[in-house]
């Protein structure tokens, strides 16, 4: 297989790598690479999880076939480079959906497993890995959930080697559209209460991360259910053709935008019918939206804190709102306890995700937020991080040492390390 010199970036475009990439087009070409380098998907991780500087990585995107669909059992066997949106598009007309879908349809199955991603139904359905019934590594090794390596692979940041394919247990649902109810929450407390009380299958909250004082933590709770019936016409994707100028996301612009966005939902709430991908992958309609942040890129901070840590959320939001660095993209969600790997992100609690322009002060603010999350007994999400330091991690991820031991045994020469695992010294944990 040939290796190509290449530079590529994480989704936030703050971090990038120059290294060598191979892109196998057929599984016969993947097998010989199995021990050489880590696999990467569509680089939808914001920081350096999919980066390998001065090293090698295997791009999986051309290996995207469905190998088997067992309609009776509701199981699909799919190559790791297939995207979530592709699966959803093929499955929905047949009465199925991937059981868990992250907020972008461009995530590959390999990336979803390696991050043990969560969706808007995490409180009910658990994490992606909980619906994986079998993983086939490029080495040929087949892992089922009772195999000790399974827990090191799911959420395992690619450190057990490239995943070639996986079997997923699907959700049976007749879904043509999503029925979405939007309600305002005027304060953080009422927002959190509503998240706790919601009985909807899918929930997600947009939070106005620029609101202060009385309005701190206000937002819009979206609750979704799958629906059958009318299919709205497909819309064409738009593209962001250039890097946006610096003022586009300046603090006053964002504050105004957020105010309007909040006000768009009537005080009494409303119910809408949305196309499936508009609900699950709202940002995918605008291709390359990450360019809106300009050349300097952006950071995302995402943490989860236990349900008892409402006070921490309040103080985080105060710090965020007064910083003037937040973008309109901020999400608050309730998580259930479901997780499938040693390093899986989810825990029972609230997860907060906020995008920040990359400016002086951004890293400092995020460092503070990381410390607060940790102090509250929470953790940060590796798929989003680009700021944390090695010493931040151990308390957050109690099974880190167990994971490190398992992956080091399988890869003693550290061929699978990425910029992320090196930056956070994850594999040196004792």
């Amino acid at each position: 297989m040939s290796w190509k010199k290449h530079s590529w970036a994480g989704w936030g475009r703050v971090q990038s790598a120059t290294g060598e990439l191979a892109r196998p087009e057929r599984s016969a070409a993947l097998a010989p690479l199995a021990t050489e380098a880590p696999a990467i998907g569509n680089c939808r991780s914001y920081g350096d999880a999919a980066l390998v500087s001065e090293g090698r990585a295997i791009t999986m995107t051309r290996l995207d076939k469905i190998l088997l669909f067992d309609e009776a059992d509701g199981v699909i066997h799919v190559e790791a480079g297939a995207t979530i949106a592709d699966l959803a598009r093929i499955l929905a007309p047949k009465g199925f959906l991937p059981a868990v879908m992250p907020g972008t349809g461009f995530a590959t199955i390999g990336g979803c497993i390696a991050m043990d991603v969560h969706g808007k139904n995490h409180h009910g359905a658990g994490s992606f890995g909980q619906h994986v019934t079998e993983i086939t590594l490029a080495s040929g090794k087949v892992l089922t959930p009772d195999d000790p390596l399974f827990k090191a692979t799911v959420g395992g940041l690619g450190q057990t080697g490239p995943i070639a394919s996986a079997k997923l247990k699907l959700l049976r649902a007749k879904v043509d559209v999503m029925m979405v109810t939007e309600r305002r929450a005027e304060t953080l407390e009422s927002f959190l209460d509503r998240l706790d009380e919601s009985e909807a299958t899918y929930t997600v909250g947009w939070i106005d991360a620029t609101a202060t004082g009385e309005a701190l933590g206000r937002g819009i709770l979206e609750e979704g259910e799958t629906g059958a019936g009318l299919v709205p016409p497909a819309k064409r994707g738009r593209k962001v053709p250039f890097n946006a100028p610096g003022w586009a996301l300046a603090a006053p612009v964002v504050r105004l935008f957020n105010k309007l966005y909040y006000g768009r939902v009537p005080a009494a709430g409303r119910t809408l019918v949305k196309p499936i991908d508009d609900f699950f992958f709202p940002l995918d309609r605008i291709h390359d939206w990450n360019k809106l942040y300009g050349k300097k890129g952006f950071h995302q901070f995402q943490c989860v804190v236990p349900v008892t840590a409402r006070g921490t959320l309040r103080s985080m939001l105060e710090a965020i709102a007064t910083s003037g660095l937040a973008s309109p993209l901020a999400v608050l969600k309730r998580m259930g306890p479901g997780r499938a790997g040693h390093l899986s992100f989810p825990m029972e609690g609230y997860t907060l995700a906020v995008d920040f322009r990359n400016r002086t002060g951004t890293r400092g603010l995020i460092s503070e937020l990381i410390a607060e999350a940790k102090a509250a007994g929470g953790r940060i999400y590796f798929a989003k991080d680009s700021v944390a330091r090695a010493e931040d991690i151990p308390g957050m991820y109690p099974e880190l040492a167990e994971w490190a031991e398992a992956v080091n045994a399988g890869d003693p020469e550290h061929h699978y390390e990425t910029d992320l695992t090196k930056r956070l010294s994850l594999r040196s944990a004792k």
Partner: protein, 247 residues
Amino acid sequence: MTETWILLGAASSMARAMARQLAGEGANLVLAGRDMADLEAQATDLALRGAASAKAARFDARDAATFASIIEAAETLAGEGPINCAVFVGSMPPQEAIDADPSLIDGTVTDSFTGPARFLQMLAPKLEAKGKGLVIGVGSVAGDRGRIGNYVYGAAKSGIATYLSGLRNRLGRSGVHVMTVKPGFVDTAMTWDVEGMFLVASPAQVAAHMLKKGRKGRNVLYTPFFWRYIMAIIRSVPEPIFKKLSV
């Protein structure tokens, strides 16, 4: 009426992209190539993506015994409907390898020219009998002029282009259309690690372009379109100058 397509060299990136588009249209697909494991997997995948049927079949340009059963399979699937064929086969050993071992020329010419030509020669009477159908043959801009870097491959591609031009002349008389395609740089395994690539097109773009223009009756298609102009310039360079260039 449901179209039936034979894709020769179905494991190639461009063929896979075309197969996905045709599956979306509900065609019958005969996926012919050598990597049977890959083709079987593709067949399953394409059926789920909407193909009326998808079948893997062994095709080896160097083994003419594999040809007849592919044509039979397509005839069975097509019934009264049209049979179309797209040819993506070819091989390009590095010119230095050929310099070191001239016998590699035989395989290159068989893969890129005589194998597929012989297959099309067997298929031609069936298409004539149906009085309809579309053949898309993928040549290469490399066939437009002998260049120092790949003139053996270029010669084979030039051979298939001339063959396709003759076949077009013959089949056109009975309502079957033949289109010759000359792709420029396409983002495939062949160009992945080649330096100096520019304006690289995705396999999906190129496949869509080929189907659209082939159906409209285009005879020769450069894809992406600007390659027509690039190659016009390259062809117009006088030989005394060209022979000193290493383009």
